[in-house]
């Protein structure tokens, strides 16, 4: 295999940057949503649940278009960011937002399941031993749901890495800025003779996804070592 060309390296860097930032940015929000959905009862909960999962069933193109409307010059988010002189349109940050929104439902789900499967009597036992709510959370709740957090991070990263539709509509494919691996592969397949290069990128995407899964399995095994 010949060494990677500059555009290929650029696509890899954009992909890793976008997916990494999308995952890290969505994680706290996904954690909060998982906690609220698993532990709190409130009116409108089914509505919030549906809203979180909406990107899962909506055509990604629609999600991208709605992001474009929201973050556009006249959109509410676009105007709010414009006040600070920030625009995410056609920027890699916009690609990260699109990928984060698409990854969110996949990240909420494993953390919510981990919380719902948790034996809450253990938290009660910790409280009876004098632990404050904060200490119970840090020493019991968080470690016991760690495998769920890891699963969420990996799923989110993988989803963000593969995101295509919403990103293409929202920030289009600008090489070196918003053109991630899937967008680059798509672009190469549109031009005559681009197929060999597309294949190389496809193999690269495969390698990155595979590495992420192997790393996830390792961390998950470590987090659950007391179960073996």
């Amino acid at each position: 295999m010949t060494p990677l060309s500059e555009p290929e390296i650029a696509a890899i860097i954009v992909s890793l940057k976008v997916a990494g930032v999308a995952m890290l940015g969505a994680l706290p929000l996904a954690f909060t949503l998982a906690f609220v959905l698993a532990r709190r009862q409130f009116p409108g909960k089914p509505l919030l649940d549906a809203l979180v999962n909406l990107p899962l069933v909506l055509p990604p193109v629609v999600t991208g278009y709605m992001l474009l409307l929201a973050f556009g010059r006249d959109g509410w988010a676009g105007q709010a960011l414009g006040f600070f002189g920030i625009s995410v349109l056609f920027r890699w940050t916009g690609a990260a937002i699109a990928a984060g929104v698409m990854a969110l439902p996949l990240m909420v789900s494993p953390m919510r399941l981990a919380l719902e499967a948790m034996d809450r009597r253990l938290e009660a036992a910790a409280a009876s031993l004098g632990a404050s709510p904060r200490r119970v959370f840090a020493t019991i709740t968080l470690p016991l749901m760690l495998p769920g957090i890891i699963a969420a991070a990996v799923l989110g990263f993988a989803k963000a890495l593969g995101e295509f539709g919403a990103t293409a509509i929202f920030v289009s494919a600008i090489p070196g800025e918003t053109e991630t691996l899937p967008l680059a592969i798509n672009a190469l397949l549109q031009v005559p003779g681009g197929e060999p290069a597309a294949l190389r990128l496809a193999v690269l995407a495969l390698g990155i996804a595979f590495l992420a899964l192997v790393a996830a399995q390792y961390w998950q095994r470590r987090a659950g070592r007391h179960r073996v």
């Binding site: 009597r121 253990l122 009660a124 036992a125 409280a127 009876s128 031993l129 004098g130 019991i140 007391h226």
Partner: protein
Amino acid sequence: MTANFGTDNAMTAPAFDVDVSLQRGDFAGRFAFRSACSATAIVGPSGQGKSSLLLAIAGLVTPVAGHIRLGGRTLFDAGAGIDLPARDRNLGLVFQDVRLFPHLTVRANLGYAGRATLAEITAMAARLGLTALLGRWPRHLSGGEARRVALGRALLARPAALLLDEPFAHLDAARAAEVMALVAAAGATAPVLLVTHNTAEAAAIAAEIINI
């Protein structure tokens, strides 16, 4: 169901002064007793709400009415609106379902309350026959071993009272005798309340036995 017992003598501050109405799932009942003894046993068949009573005293189940006082300290009083959170009650509860923290080793479980030094943890482990198990995960313990860890964990929290739910289940006779001695020793510093279905066990360590 109503259970009403106790010594109605002129004690100023009995160790336990409990009168609570509990409602939990299918179970509803009232428990009322006072005891000034260092070790009190509540004996009765299962399904009578004995475990719920201990959970209520520990602050993990809220009674619908009544009061819970321990050595003059009010932990719960429905009338006065007092309901101390479990973490502030400072009671050592050994659960019937043990509830060891699965992600912590035996050593970390013993020290969870954070009130014992490493030397005290080691000494407690030795007394409970757990020295060889200190580095193990709870999942690899037998029922009796787990129960001893739970007892040690509660004792190392330096509780104002020790609450035991069927503490001698899953223990063979020799080990049960050792644990009974340990519980009796604990009774010297903090009152012990134990619930059991086994009259012989109750008689072995409790000065006062309340049948329900």
